[in-house]
């Protein structure tokens, strides 16, 4: 059993209601910072950095490179200085630090062996430690402090067919923004349905996506409901970065509340 208990930090249009979910649908969370490319960074330094993380994260995963190319639609790939994304993972393989020139993220992911959800406070604390390790290493190597461009938090939720929904006509039971068409309409039954909403806030963005797919681990049909919130910090001081991260968390938490129905949240409150 896992519990999510999160309190809003500011008044919300639906009141001061708490999110207390005994069975949250979350399967992964990611928090961290995107920063400007570091002068003097290269793969060998990234490899040596693992030595600093290794006592806590002894396993290594090589991950596909993240391409920051939304705007503009091209990016430069320097073949003399290849970029690699690495994941330093703890023994349980649930906690992981993702590092690439330009980003540091901490992920928690659910596994069969370790299914208990880790709350934001716990993941934030891990990120603070990871970030301190990273910055200490930069100082040791006489490299400049990173200039953080945005703070980011993502939740990835899996809504499983036959548990959370039966067919796409049921989505209005889960999502406040989904109405669909009555089955009696000339369109018949929906084969598939998805939505992707980006909100521009005063300080950043929230991207909410419902995307149907298959979970390779068990072949279950799921709707992946992801919420990504990013905020641009005013400086790269730790205090400002973690304040912005808290804002990302609050924005994502609100979006979860606003995009899901009472009925769905009541279902996730039940002890299974």
């Amino acid at each position: 059993m896992s519990t999510t208990q999160e309190h809003p930090v500011s008044p919300h249009k639906q009141g001061q209601a708490n999110l207390q979910l005994e069975n949250p649908p979350v399967v992964e969370t990611s928090v961290g910072f995107h920063f400007a490319k570091l002068e003097g960074w290269h793969l060998l330094r990234q490899g040596l950095l693992w030595g600093k993380f290794r006592p806590e994260y002894p396993e290594l995963e090589i991950l596909p490179m993240i391409v920051q190319a939304a705007t503009p639609q091209t990016f430069q790939f320097d073949m003399n200085s290849p970029v690699m994304r690495t994941g330093f993972t703890d023994k349980s393989r649930t906690q992981l630090v993702q590092i690439q020139d330009g980003l540091l993220l901490h992920n928690w992911r659910k596994t069969n062996e370790s299914p208990q959800y880790k709350r934001y406070d716990a993941i934030r604390s891990r990120l603070r430690s990871d970030w301190a390790t990273f910055r200490a290493y930069l100082h040791e190597e006489s490299l400049k402090d990173p200039v953080v461009l945005r703070c980011e938090m993502s939740y990835f939720n899996h809504l499983v067919r036959n548990e959370d929904w039966k067919d796409f006509a049921d989505l209005s039971d889960t999502f406040t923004v989904w109405k669909g068409l009555p089955e009696s309409s000339s369109y018949g039954t929906a084969q598939v349905a998805a939505f992707n909403v980006m909100h521009q806030l005063d300080s950043g963005t929230v991207n909410v996506i419902a995307q149907p797919g298959i979970r390779p681990s068990d072949g279950k049909e799921v709707i992946q409901f992801s919420l990504t919130s990013s905020v641009k910090p005013k400086s790269s001081d730790d205090e400002e970065l973690f304040r912005c991260l808290d804002e990302c968390h609050e924005n994502a938490r609100r979006a979860f509340f606003d995009f899901t129905t009472d009925k769905a949240r009541n279902r996730w409150r039940e002890i299974r």
Binding site: V27, E28, S30, G32, L63, I66, V67, A69, A70, Q73, T74, F75, Q76, F77, D78, M79, N80, G87, L96, Q98, L105, N107, R109, K110, E152, S154, F156, H158, R161, N162, D167, T189, Q191, V192, A194, N207, I209, Q211, P212, G213, I214, R215, P216, S217, D218, G219, K220, E221, V222, Q224, S226, T228
Partner: protein
């Protein structure tokens, strides 16, 4: 040396950049949603076809077929055929030209049977694979996609 790479914005899924938990979206090929819909129909009401038998498949059997779909490169193969048979089993049939790969899932079995035939309907590969033998299955699919030397 550097290269400028053009990125098609429609292929960018920014929200999933940081994701590590595997997920296979249904929009990977146009035929995937309709195939999944047919699987759901067979789970829900595949029964009682006169003269044929009960063609309902159990959810666990359908799950095994869906796992297969996450291994098959959907953009490289045409829409497979679903062939349920009496007793709760189902075959997924892929055709590339005159070559054919049949993957059969049986109820209450965690593995599946595969058979590849060539242009002359000769069996070129067959066997039983566990659901987690993804590398071996990938090899079987790659062999199907690779034209044979004459």
């Amino acid at each position: 040396m550097s290269a400028t790479i053009l990125v098609n914005p429609s292929t960018i899924d920014q929200a999933r950049w940081s994701q590590l938990v595997p997920f296979s979206p249904v929009d990977s090929a146009s035929w995937v949603p309709s195939l999944l819909w047919r699987l759901r129909s067979l789970e829900a009401s595949g029964r009682n076809i006169p003269g044929v038998g009960d063609l309902t498949i159990a959810t666990a059997t359908a799950d095994r077929v869906r796992r297969l779909l996450t291994i098959i490169p959907p953009h490289l193969v045409p829409e497979p055929t679903l062939a349920p048979f009496s007793g709760g089993g189902i075959a997924l049939i892929l055709n590339i030209g005159d070559r054919e790969l049949t993957l059969t899932a049986y109820p209450d079995h965690n593995d599946f049977v595969f058979m590849t035939t060539n242009e002359n309907d000769e069996v070129v590969d067959e066997g039983i694979l566990a659901a987690d033998q993804t590398e071996r299955l990938s090899d079987v699919i790659t062999a199907l996609l690779t034209p044979q030397a004459r």
